[in-house]
Amino acid sequence: MVFELHIWGPAFSLPSIDPHCLAAIAYLQQAVPRGKWQLIATSDPALSPTNELPALRNGDIWIGGFRNIFHYVAQFSSGEWVLDAGLPDQQGADCIAFSSFVEAHGQPLIDLSLYVSSQNYTSTTRPLYNSIQPFPLPYLTPPSVRATAKQRTAHLGLSSLDIDTEDADAAQEKSIIPESLRKPKNTVSSLLAANPESNAQIRLDALATNYFEPLQKIKGKKPHLVSDSQFSSLDCLALGYLSLMLIPSLPQPWLAKTMRKKFPDLCAWTEDMIDNVFGGPVKAEDALLPNDGDSTSAEQKAYLPWTAPKNGGAVGIGSVFLSSIADSIPVVGQLRRNTRMRLHGGKTLDDELQSSSWQGVAAISSIVAGLGLAVGYMFQQGLIPLPSGEEPAKERNASLDTFGDAGAALSVFATQLDAEAQRQRMGQSHGAPVAQVDVEAGPGGVTVTDNVA
């Protein structure tokens, strides 16, 4: 059985853009014999049961997350393909502690350098996703990765690195002097605002130094981080993080600069390891089109067992696209995330299932209630006309008005006609024969006088 390691695609001449994927590659490269595993740059986290890459596939079994992969590989080979076996107690403990340190403190640094910093993100990181993901996906993946990165680094108070959020127009006050005649005002603060990395230089330097210093100390003059002879899982993880800090050439290279200036020893170690483990620089074509190889890169291809990713055609890409859109819709995305978490929560307890279904019911009923309120408000405001007795009457009334000016003239005419008719009716009512009969009884007989008004 051949393992398939699915990873985020290559970037910056490294085999992957993600530190955990790099760590997993290094681990398999060191622990698993050649020919027993393949490397596939899928760049699709939906494959993995934990919804993150790297993911390892062994037949029908999918393992997500690099730590789970280490455990699974050890279990599968019954303890043969393990890197940390046989480390002395103290070194084993150091390996565990520094792994936690490398991961917990390295992630914010990579987040800041590659994703939060606007300049690095727009000019370097975002375009990279175009080469490792099929067409519509680069529109969705990098922004969501960046949003997570911002969330993770929010507590550091360095959000000023992201200058996209500020309103650029607000700074330009309106002036009657035309653009061409104005003198550019380069104040100190405006220069600093344009280049937030130099503004936050001291904080960034301190963060980076606090990260590299313990690593430098634990390594000392040893060839590996904790052991004199043995390549450990800590080396894999550190290689993943340090190479992503050192190798990318970015417009704002504060992280690599600090590392090169203050910790040349760590830099040398990282570069050595990249050559030894990854076999030197990796091109995107090596990973994505490994089949039509020419003789020049054949040696490198042999170093890492690349296999071309099968994306499942337009249907596969479409479904990934739709699911990532669904994730970014507020309510729906939250529901999807919740179910994902419950599904993997080991044993799912009955009441927990119940509560999640209650959540679903609550969400749906709140949507219905919201829609009902909105429609009710529209009715109340008259945006949607209610069919009532008044409307047709108005329409009849206004039937001549629809003719515009002519209608107005006609309506004058109509009024006159109407008035005449009424006058006629009045006349008729006045001209009704009213007979007054006066009867006078006199000595000469009876005189009858008829007065017809």
Partner: protein
């Protein structure tokens, strides 16, 4: 006599009437419609009148609660703690409070610590915080939050012992991330433990109203969930527990046969931060239901003894 105007339907919107008399009759229904659309987004009249009647007032910031002592002569630390426990000088039930409580006791070792430890004010933002003694009785002192406590102590001429070992940062990250994540999961997201432990500690003391209680428990659980999800895509329980187990293993090896971590003569901040978790996980009175994390800790004998030593030293072995 009927007037001509009777045949023009008057627009209901008065603004039109004022502007240009009677608009051409053909456009009326359309403009009525657009004005309604505009109206749809504007503030409804009753709300507007309400706002006009009740202008927005900005009140000065609230004073400290009445229970807070106005001018203490000694610094007071505010923590999550039960009433009877505070009176008896027992440990707090919140890890970050307990860490500073222990550290504070170490600093105030010769200053009658039981007086200095005050009752919590549950409603006040983030605990723990320290209220320094005020020089001016009329002026309320500014509380000091936990991230500035070390600096404050140094300003007062105390030295907060922190090891300078190269391993310090790495093992501290084990406590701050691996053990804390497992703690968050086991306390808040493990349903059995939440109802048995966290509910009695954080939810039921705050209110007796079932609605408020339900809302607070939901807030607590979702906050813990959000915290865990910032690091990973999904919450993987097996991974959390196995990483915490490995973390205890590493800390146990680091402690070895020493009394305190890094072989110091007296407990440091690091000892306090590990004690904050071990004390609570080993405290049987809390009534843990799902004991996976507790079992992982009990397997490391020297960590259990470390907890006993600190408990005797600061809380009289209670």
């Amino acid at each position: 006599m009927n007037s001509i105007l009777d045949f023009f339907p008057m627009p209901s919107d008065k603004t039109f009437n004022e502007k240009d008399g009677a608009p051409p009759a053909g456009q009326t229904s359309f403009s009525q419609h657009t004005s309604r659309v505009r109206h749809f987004f504007s503030i409804p009249a009753p709300v507007k009148t309400l706002f006009d009647k009740v202008p927005v007032l900005t009140y000065p910031p609230n004073d400290l609660s009445q229970r807070a002592p106005k001018s203490a002569r000694i610094p007071s630390l505010y923590v999550f703690i039960k009433k009877e426990d505070a009176a008896a000088g027992r440990p707090s039930y919140n890890p970050s409070c307990l860490k500073w409580q222990v550290n504070f006791l170490e600093l105030c070792r010769y200053q009658s610590p039981s007086d200095a430890l005050k009752q919590p004010c549950l409603s006040l933002g983030r605990l723990p915080f320290l209220l320094p003694p005020s020089k001016n009785p009329k002026e309320a002192p500014t509380p000091i939050t936990s991230n500035r406590l070390v600096k404050y102590a140094e300003e007062q001429g105390k030295t907060v012992e922190e090891s300078s070992s190269m391993r310090y940062e790495a093992y501290q990250s084990l406590i701050d991330h691996r053990i804390r994540d497992a703690w968050l999961y086991t306390l808040y997201l493990e349903p059995l433990n939440f109802s048995a432990v966290a509910y009695h500690l954080y939810v039921s003391p705050t209110s007796t109203n079932p609605l408020v209680r339900a809302s607070i428990s939901h807030q607590l659980r979702s906050a813990a969930e959000a915290e865990l999800l910032t690091h990973t895509a999904i919450i993987d329980t097996d991974d959390l527990y196995s990483e915490a187990d490995k973390a205890f293993e590493a800390l146990s090896i680091l402690l070895g046969e020493d009394s305190w971590f890094f072989g110091t003569a007296k407990p440091t901040l690091f000892d306090a931060s590990i004690f904050a978790y071990t004390q609570l996980l080993l405290d049987d009175e809390l009534g843990w239901q799902e004991k996976k994390l507790c079992r992982a800790l009990r397997r490391r004998g020297n960590l259990v003894q470390h907890r006993e030593r600190l408990l005797v030293r600061y809380f009289g072995g209670a």
